[in-house]
């Protein structure tokens, strides 16, 4: 009886070791795929959401009447915009820089809006300009106190509402972006995009 149990235990151990070895030897598969492809794995915020938000905010901002109003009252000049804070009020980590950079790129490449550097990028430029005052040839020196003041600041926030029961989960994201006049505090444009996701976790084997 004792001998039988020992043999059975050995067989089980060998089987587990075989499975573990097979798993270890299975080759890792990495494929480059189209960045525009929808790839939803966990149901959390991902690149697809970022692209959808960027597309929608680009469309809404470039089609908004605020651009024409500014252009008409300023002899055709493009408004100057500084990208300010974009707060994430969800429990997830959301990289807001991805869609904000898409938006900045659209503004700049369209020529309809002039985007000014802000935050740490601006500090870095100011440091370099200050350095040029000492080290650069006078003819090539960038002048001090000659920055263009931004007329508007882009601000925004992301909020999320989550609802779940059992294997089902619904996540709702609302992204609000606002263009605020720096002098009057008037909100000249508000963009908004909403994303709703339904996540169903299927049981293994079913």
């Amino acid at each position: 009886m004792a001998k039988f149990s020992f043999t059975r235990l050995t067989a089980r151990g060998a089987l587990i070791a075989l499975v573990a070895a097979a798993a270890a030897c299975s080759p890792k598969q990495v494929n480059r795929i189209d960045p525009a492809a929808v790839t939803d794995l966990s149901g959390r915020w991902n690149d697809t959401d970022s692209r959808l938000v960027a597309n929608e905010l680009i469309k809404q901002s470039l089609d908004g009447p605020w651009l024409k109003r500014f252009s008409d009252s300023h002899g055709g000049a493009a408004p100057t915009v500084l990208v300010g804070g974009f707060s994430n009020k969800t429990y997830e980590h959301i990289a807001v820089g991805t869609f904000l950079n898409d938006l900045e790129r659209a503004f700049t490449n369209s020529g309809a809006v002039q985007v000014m550097a802000g935050g740490t990028a601006r500090d870095q430029i100011r440091d370099e300009r200050a350095d040029q005052q000492t080290n650069a040839n006078a003819a090539t020196r960038a002048k001090l106190a000659n920055e263009t003041g931004a007329r508007y600041m882009l601000q925004g926030e992301i909020q999320a509402i989550e609802d779940s029961e059992g294997k089902e989960k619904v996540v709702f994201y609302q992204i609000d972006a606002t263009m605020v006049d720096m002098e009057s505090n008037a909100k000249v444009w508000i963009g908004q995009h909403k994303i709703k996701k339904y996540v169903l976790r299927k049981r293994v084997g079913l």
């Binding site: 929808v38 692209r51 469309k59 470039l62 008409d72 300023h74 369209s110 020529g111």
Partner: protein, 271 residues
Amino acid sequence: MTTRNMTRAAALGLLALAACTQRKINPEPVTVMRNGERVPDSEAKIAEARDRAAGDQARTTYTRDSIMAAAMTGCTPDVCAAVTRGEVALGMNEAQLMAATRTTPTAWSVRRSGDAAIYTSAIQNESPRDMVSAVALVQVQNGRVASYAYNEPSGMRIVQKAGDASAAARATATGNALVQQGDELVASGNASLALARYDQASVLLPNDPMLQYRIATLLDQQLRPIEALMRYKRFLHQLELERINAVGDAYAKQAAAIAHAKERIIVLEKR
């Protein structure tokens, strides 16, 4: 049927009921993005905006160039200099007004009545600006700017004669506006903020004795005797200077203030 079978049937029935009442979210009627689909890019939208902006900017640049050419033709040296600086000036014609503000007719709303015309912003909250500030209103008489008003942080400032446009006149107007704000704050019981406004005004109006008197009385009320004493003395000193300058009957009009200041100086010095 045995008790066991009855229990089994009941459990089966409950299970079936639970299955029937299961909440179901049907996402089909709305657009659903599935794995493997593509998110469209925004290049077409950017290109469309680029074409539109380029077209608008080219048209506006052409209009502005035409206005500038008309403005600089036959202008007096003062007006030419003001247009170049980008500053509205009295005596400008309509083209020069637009050239000075770097605007086109789309920026202005014009109401005409006989020989007079009133220019205001065509777009709310987007007043045309010159180098000084936002231009709220321009009055044109016989084709020439007769007066204009700036919308400034301290309120509306009107330029009706050449002297009003000078830096000194600008400082006086701003100082007077600050004094007025201070008076309103005193009336509403906010003495500390009123004092701050008066202090700002005193930088712009250093020779205004009544402003010194206002500051002195406020400091006196706030139980700050040393500062109050200094301001009362300054008030009397400036009045003496005014009297020497013999400016009308200002001295007589300020008799009550002088009497009060002298009285307070005696009281404060005795403390």
